[in-house]
């Protein structure tokens, strides 16, 4: 029993680390690097979001709001106030953590579709503010962000960003797996399974829901901050309702309550539009179709469906 969980925990992380380490030799140019880096950034958001949606069973249709807040905090503090990027990043995470903590209690009292509405509203409010505060954010035309530097060392190569994002993703996945396989993680999954039974077992469900909401928001903000410095330019579409839906789709597509599923879901959905360009005008039609068909035939998501199938084959 013990051996199995530890092996699956670290085995997966090891495989991920090997893939991350080897991949750069197979990426021919900056376009491929860009897709992979964007996948990695999305994957960090999705691993956090999966803790909230897949494990704790609390839906959020507003996480792009946190992503954008992290991104814009970094941009504004670094470029408008001249703070060192790493300090801006830390401050951004703190701001998002406090905000998420403040709204978590009333929002997480809601359930199901009502929670979906409330988080959606929250995301839209953030996105409108980013759009309207032109003096601070540049409004819809966006704002430039200077590159990331640490100890006087500037990161501006694609390979540099690849290692930062890849490393961050490995650590995020490792931390998430650790958390899930602990009393805290079991408590979270219990909240999903039956809130009242979890309480009877002594789980302070409100506290854990708030905790995981804040954790997922902070991860989104961290990814947002990386994105801001990596791409060098921000527009409010990073915080839009569509982006939130995209994150949730990645989580569900990869597989709810599957950390590696989230990584796969993020990679697939980031790369998919690049493949679909062959359909020209029908690109979006195909995108919608792929979304629908995947979820109809694999309602549990790619990775769990694949695992089920392999289990059935082998047994």
């Amino acid at each position: 029993m013990k051996g199995a969980t530890v092996a699956s925990r670290y085995g997966g992380v090891f495989v991920l680390a090997v893939i991350v380490a080897v991949l750069p030799w197979f990426l021919p140019n900056s376009f491929y690097f860009d897709v992979v880096i964007n996948s990695g950034i999305a994957a960090i958001v999705c691993v956090g979001l999966n803790l909230l949606i897949g494990y704790a069973g609390q839906i959020s249709l507003g996480h792009a709001g946190f992503f954008a807040l992290g991104a814009y905090s970094s941009a504004i503090l670094t470029d408008n106030l001249g703070w060192p990027p790493i300090v801006s990043l830390g401050s951004g995470l703190l701001v998002v953590a406090l905000l998420a903590f403040a709204i978590a209690r009333p929002i997480l009292r809601l359930k199901g579709h009502y929670l979906a509405m409330a988080t959606l509203g929250m995301g839209i409010i953030i996105s409108i503010v980013l759009n309207q505060e032109v003096d601070l954010t540049g409004g819809p035309d966006g704002m430039p962000v200077s590159s990331f530097s640490l100890l006087g060392q500037e990161v501006d190569s694609e390979l540099g960003w690849y290692w930062i994002v890849g490393g961050s993703l490995i650590i995020t996945v490792w931390l998430a797996l650790n958390l899930i396989d602990s009393a805290v993680g079991r408590a979270l999954r219990a909240v999903h399974g039956s809130e009242v039974a979890a309480q009877v077992a002594g789980v302070d469900t409100t506290r854990y829901k708030i905790l995981i909401f804040v954790v997922s928001a902070v991860l989104a903000a961290y990814a947002g901050s990386l994105f801001a410095h990596y791409t060098g330019f921000l527009t409010p579409s990073e915080g839009s309702f569509f982006r939130s839906i995209e994150f949730v789709t990645m989580v569900v597509l990869g597989g709810m309550a599957s950390v590696f599923g989230s990584v796969i879901g993020a990679a697939i959905l980031t790369a998919l539009p690049q493949f679909l360009t062959v359909f020209h005008d029908y690109e979006h039609v195909m995108f919608g179709l792929v979304m629908m068909l995947t979820m109809i035939f694999m309602p549990k998501g790619l990775l769990p469906s694949l695992r089920n199938w392999i289990n059935k084959r082998t047994s």
Binding site: L175, L179, H192, A201
Partner: protein, 253 residues
């Protein structure tokens, strides 16, 4: 010594009195049962004792402490646990993990340490895993330990819920219709299990419709009707109580 003391407890839902002015005492170490027709307020009473419902009025004392209206998880920490009439299983987890959730309060659960999975967390988890496996074996579910909860038969889930409740190491265990939906043999096994639980020094309160089970195991029986106490006493006393006879026979229940 009384473990649980309920005084003047009432609960109403939008004008409907589910429980009215109830006085009830649970003695430490004994097996208690609560019987009564559907809608008598038995489960509502459980829900108030475990903190799921806030009482409209009245008080609940546990172990000499006023616990009226405390949140569920705090009552759990004080030593009150329960099973559910309609199963409340964590279907997204394995059987072992279900019971491990019951060990929540006995596990180390510092957030940062959990993130890093420090050796302290690993040790505490090992302890919980060991204890949960033990309890599953004790309730007779050894064969199912590694299975997913959604693959278990109904009767096994009922036992798993009891194992989960026991994992909390409660002083008071409330069992809501543990024999509902079980066949004779299974009911007999539950009967034995309840007696074994009691032998471990855990006070048990049982809500049950199966009269043979109730009459067989109970040291004390409370009869409820329309949210009120109709009668209480030993099995023999209750059986001969004219009000009880009238209520049951009159309704042909």
């Amino acid at each position: 010594m009384s473990l649980l003391e309920i005084t003047g407890l009432s609960k109403s839902f939008g004008g409907v009195q589910a429980v009215q002015e109830l006085e009830y005492t649970v003695e430490s170490g004994k097996i208690h049962s609560i019987i009564g027709p559907n809608g008598a307020g038995k489960t509502t009473l459980f829900n108030m004792v475990t903190g799921i419902f806030k009482p409209s009025s009245g008080e609940v004392h546990f172990n000499g402490q006023d616990v009226t209206g405390l949140p569920v998880h705090e009552l759990a920490a004080l030593g009150i646990s329960r099973s559910f009439q309609n199963l409340q299983v964590f279907f997204n987890m394995t059987v072992l993990e279900n019971v491990m959730v019951g060990r929540h309060l006995h596990c180390r659960r510092e957030f940062l340490q959990s993130l890093l999975h420090t050796p302290a967390i690993t040790r505490s988890d090992e302890g919980a895993r060991h204890r949960a496996a033990e309890l599953l074996e004790w309730v007779g579910l050894k064969a199912y330990v590694g299975d997913h909860a959604d693959s278990l038969p109904y009767g096994a889930l009922k036992r798993m819920e009891i194992a989960r409740a026991l994992a909390c190491e409660p002083k008071l265990l409330l069992l809501d219709e543990p024999a509902a939906g079980l066949n004779n043999k299974e009911t007999q096994e539950i009967n034995e299990l309840i007696q074994q639980i009691s032998e471990r020094g855990i006070t048990v309160v049982l809500v049950e419709h199966d009269m043979r089970l109730v009459m067989g195991v109970s040291d004390h029986i409370l009869v409820m009707d329309h949210g009120k106490k109709l009668a209480e006493g030993t099995a023999a006393e209750v059986r001969e109580n004219p009000d009880v006879v009238a209520a049951y026979l009159g309704r042909g229940d």
